[in-house]
Symmetry: C2
């Protein structure tokens, strides 16, 4: 048999799907087992508790999510080009994981323990990267290329614009009655619009 029948991975995959769809609290280990095609006890054999299973899923996803914001680009491009690329790649990552922002936002907002544990995990990485970024920003400001702005405001604007479409979008789609095509169109349009708005907002 070439493909090893890896139940542990099947469980993580099933759990990921279900947690993303219905959230942590509304997903049972019984359901996860069924979705993974195994006995419910096996879920606990590999992960002991539902909480630990969630952490296994969540930590990985959150890391991918955070690194897409925090990683410093190396390319030798103009500031504007670098920023544009950053915004777009962040947007694309979200587009590939459209349900991730909702899960992360919800779990961190409703569960103080998870917020603390993620803060712990990240350590002073955010502060460090922010400081780096701010330096780069300040150079551009000194050159008069962009208006004075704090990095936290810029990052917040990017997060706000990029994340929201995947949270508000599905609701709008239903309320306004968009077809799948129209919806994909809306998303593609937002990708462009978000970049424009952000770059625009930096003009001196």
């Amino acid at each position: 048999m070439i493909i090893k029948d890896d139940k542990e991975k099947a469980i993580v995959d099933a759990a990921t799907r279900l947690f993303l769809d219905k959230g942590f609290a509304s997903t049972s280990t019984t359901e996860i087992a069924k979705e993974a095609g195994c006995n419910q006890a096996l879920v606990h054999y590999y992960f002991r508790t539902k909480e630990r299973l969630f952490e296994a899923v969540f930590a990985g996803k959150f890391e991918a999510f955070a690194s897409s914001i925090l990683e410093i680009s190396q390319e030798d491009l103009s500031f504007e080009e670098k920023l544009r690329l950053k915004i777009e790649s962040h947007f694309d990552m979200l587009h590939e994981n459209p349900k991730l922002p909702m899960l992360i936002a919800y779990e961190l907002n409703t569960n103080p323990k998870r917020l603390d544990s993620m803060k712990e995990k990240l350590g002073n990485l955010p502060a460090k990267v922010f400081a780096n970024f701010q330096e780069e920003l300040d150079k551009e400001i000194a050159l008069g290329n962009i208006r004075p702005i704090k990095i936290i405001d810029l990052i917040y604007s990017m997060l706000a614009l990029n994340i929201s479409i995947f949270i508000i979008g599905p609701i709008m789609k239903s309320f306004v009655g968009l077809t799948d095509d129209m919806y994909e169109n809306l998303i593609a349009n937002r990708r462009k619009e978000n970049v424009d708005m952000l770059l625009n907002s930096l003009r001196p």
Copy 2:
């Protein structure tokens, strides 16, 4: 006794607090009863099911939320001024109900039934108001005051910018380690920033 000891209201209030804090699935009727200072059976006496209690809470909150977007302003002001007021009052409503966007977004995204029921409830109101708004927008576009834009994009931008601070903000506050004062400052700043970004994005 002047103040009637209205347990029904106490139950709704307790439920509202708890649902906003921890979400629907993680809140039990037992907990609601304890918080409201009554027996658990009383919760079911008044509302029969937890689902119905949630709907009683949710419908009211959602209505307030939706109307803050949909209502048409009557004032005799310039388009820009009207828009500015709309953005600001929407922001202020959220500021007074900071946990509401998370609850609504989460419940509508993870529970198709609620999405359908809200869509039903709203009927064609969104389409109607959008059409009205678009007309007004088109007039300004024809005058060359603003660039061509679809109302759905404008509303989405407003929602994205205004809502996000109350979803991302608490997480940022923890990760970056902001004091309460710094956080309130950030929020006040976003109120201004959001208006600027939105009006900016309309320039021809």
